[in-house]
Symmetry: C2
Subunit: 492 residues, 2 copies
Amino acid sequence: MRRKFWGWGLEGQGLDDQEVLALGGLLAGHLGLEPPDLRPAPRIEDVRLRQPRLQAPGALADICSQEPWDRAEHTLGKSFDDLARGLAGRWEHPPDLVAFPRSETEVGSVLEWCAAAGAAMVPYGGGSSVARGIEPDVGDGYAGAVSLDLRHLDRVLEVDRDSRSARIQGGVLGPQLEEQLRPLGLTLRHFPQSFEFSSLGGWIATRSGGHYATLFTHIDEFVQGVRALTPRGVYETRRLPGSGAGPDPARLLIGSEGTLGVITEAWMRLQDRPVHRASAAVAFASFEGAWQAARGVAQSGLWPANCRLLDANEALLSGSGDGTHAVLIVTFESADHPVEAWMARAAEICRECGGEVPDVSATARAGAAGAWRDAFVRGGHTHDALVRLGMVQETFETAITWDRFPDFHAGVMEATQRALREVCGTGAAIKEAASSELIRLGGTITHHHAVGRYHRPWYDRERPDLFAEALRAAKRALDPAAIMNPGVLIDP
Amino acid sequence: MRRKFWGWGLEGQGLDDQEVLALGGLLAGHLGLEPPDLRPAPRIEDVRLRQPRLQAPGALADICSQEPWDRAEHTLGKSFDDLARGLAGRWEHPPDLVAFPRSETEVGSVLEWCAAAGAAMVPYGGGSSVARGIEPDVGDGYAGAVSLDLRHLDRVLEVDRDSRSARIQGGVLGPQLEEQLRPLGLTLRHFPQSFEFSSLGGWIATRSGGHYATLFTHIDEFVQGVRALTPRGVYETRRLPGSGAGPDPARLLIGSEGTLGVITEAWMRLQDRPVHRASAAVAFASFEGAWQAARGVAQSGLWPANCRLLDANEALLSGSGDGTHAVLIVTFESADHPVEAWMARAAEICRECGGEVPDVSATARAGAAGAWRDAFVRGGHTHDALVRLGMVQETFETAITWDRFPDFHAGVMEATQRALREVCGTGAAIKEAASSELIRLGGTITHHHAVGRYHRPWYDRERPDLFAEALRAAKRALDPAAIMNPGVLIDP
């Protein structure tokens, strides 16, 4: 099955037209609106793409494509903004060609050809960017743009069972990776919502965060060593469990969003697959009690695998609540020891903050926690359906210290709701209002979605100016012709 | 009391001549040697320092010193090599002057003056470097060298109890910091062996590691935001609990060893002071059993505060064993919950690997664990005494993945012992043999001591060449005249 070129997942997956209409009717009923119309899913024969400005050289012809489907698939990401533009027929920045290298050597050949041809290169993993990170909108300074799709670099190359780590190719998608690790009793245990269609290299390039949200959350923590091809050659860090030798060379690549090179492999820290589990979905009448409990659990040193707070609305929408209370999902898991003592103390903390703790379950897949999990996993498909119904569903995320949380939360909610009242028909102004408010109040423009091209205006206000200068200088050292993902993070 | 200019601690601290001689007699007896002679501690009136090549301008005269004591104190670090050179009268690279700014503004004034005068600047925290990181050996390209002593920037400026973090000045030493946090029930809980005479800014600049050696070990993990003065101006990262926005700007400064700027403040993550403790010093007849247990505990997800393995020799020397068995010290602590369940499972893991687990103690300051702790804390003084007896005591440290540990350990021990057999009278060749072997076998030249000037030859083999190019380019952006700590990490 092919991947959809305009939305989430594979052809045939997701909601069919009848299901989308039923969902629209249901929501319209809740909101007291007329049932919305359904926009048809784009058909490839209706998509107008500009003529390719580049031709692959003969030696690379086998691994390059200029098929409309391939070019369209590599044009837009998966945000509301991307979906809405696709439905509106705005495919403005297609790559001139898509390369599908089968090896690191072929990655190098494509890179060399791009440098020689003056073409920009946009690395592409699973295509799940919601930050215009993979959109070949590279400006006019290039002979063209090549989308480099790493899907064939999908293997676990080497496993070290003693240290629980493995050398893994950058193009592997989440499920393919876990499938290769499962027979060894190992797991990376990194589950961003995009898990099905995002890649290891993409996670590293964007500093991905998983839904296991205490202790090791960001992919940064799992990288033991990383290898990239830059326009200047190989950049490979020594595989080490820890080091204090100068600024960490891996950290320059982690978060570099394709602007310095293509991540072809990494040594990743793994974990034993858990066998002990305890999970509870704790209900709170007060949102403040709920976040105070989240803080208490997060600061307790118990390190639950999951500690996710849903406000009353999100609990309702995900089927984990009835809209009258917030829900804190707390899950412990371990490959080594029963976790009852851990769960018991977390439950105490929740009760001290006014939480109602139900019976603890030995799985996170049942009850309210399971309902949330199901909604989380099928989020991409639901999103597509809502956009087709003309409804704005946009995602954004940030991070802030606890002391500023109440004002921050109130300020961003207020800015968002104000924009919603003022705006009709587009999500961009709402996102802009929310983003500006969270930067103004001291948050970050992204905890795990990355910067891409979409978040640049706010990122430019968040990061130190001198860091931008240092990063530009580092980029010039690695990518002198500035062909790597131009427009992302910094201007060359 | 002044700090010693030639060794560890304050004047009057440490072993007096009689105690040093007694230690020499004891060790000579163990080793079957004649009691060694005692080299006298250096006297400042005997120290020959080259004439200063720089004079402070009038506006900075108040905060600058050219007193021989101050210049000598800022000449050498605290390694065997430093001590031995000091005892031999080799004070070859004194700073031309030492500046003691009282505020960040004064740091900026000194920096501006250095840039204008063509002087190199060497930031100085507690002076505990064992890597020639603070030695003003900057080459001939400068009008002189200024040691910037940050001791007056020693305050906790702001505390956020909710998020458990604080804004702290870079020059604060370990005990001063903990003293200011204690009334608030908070602790940074970062205890490198140099704790008494090393500073927050120094920890960040060198990517320090503390003796709490599982979970949060490196200072990197505790930095929430950092502020530095560079020759180009202020470099301040946004205070955030987490972010995925581009490569982490803090990580460029963390480990920069004074080559990019002076760290004046940081927002640091703190912890509640622990009230629950459990500790055991587990004895192992077999070293392999001991390190297998260390691996088991480290990989269990129990996250002990301490998990330190002493081989039979180190256990003997620190008074934690009789030389017949290895000792694994395992300590749990928590501010939130009793830790018996954690300790019980760790004890099980140790027993499975052949460990004899004694009664668990509610403190890490008694018994064999306490003996090790005492030896660890007074290590600087013992070291001074041994060097004065003409005995080589050198420290080095590294990191390696578990799969390679047995061969790595054997290879480095063998290379060290071979060098010991071949060499007499100097520790440098031994250190060189050990360092070359650990780099050859895939380790890192430093897990927490930093690179400085001393480790440069091995660091240059460890780090990716293209990272060095990127770092050099970033340095040029921040420090165009290359005045910041020249010779450390990279050549400008």
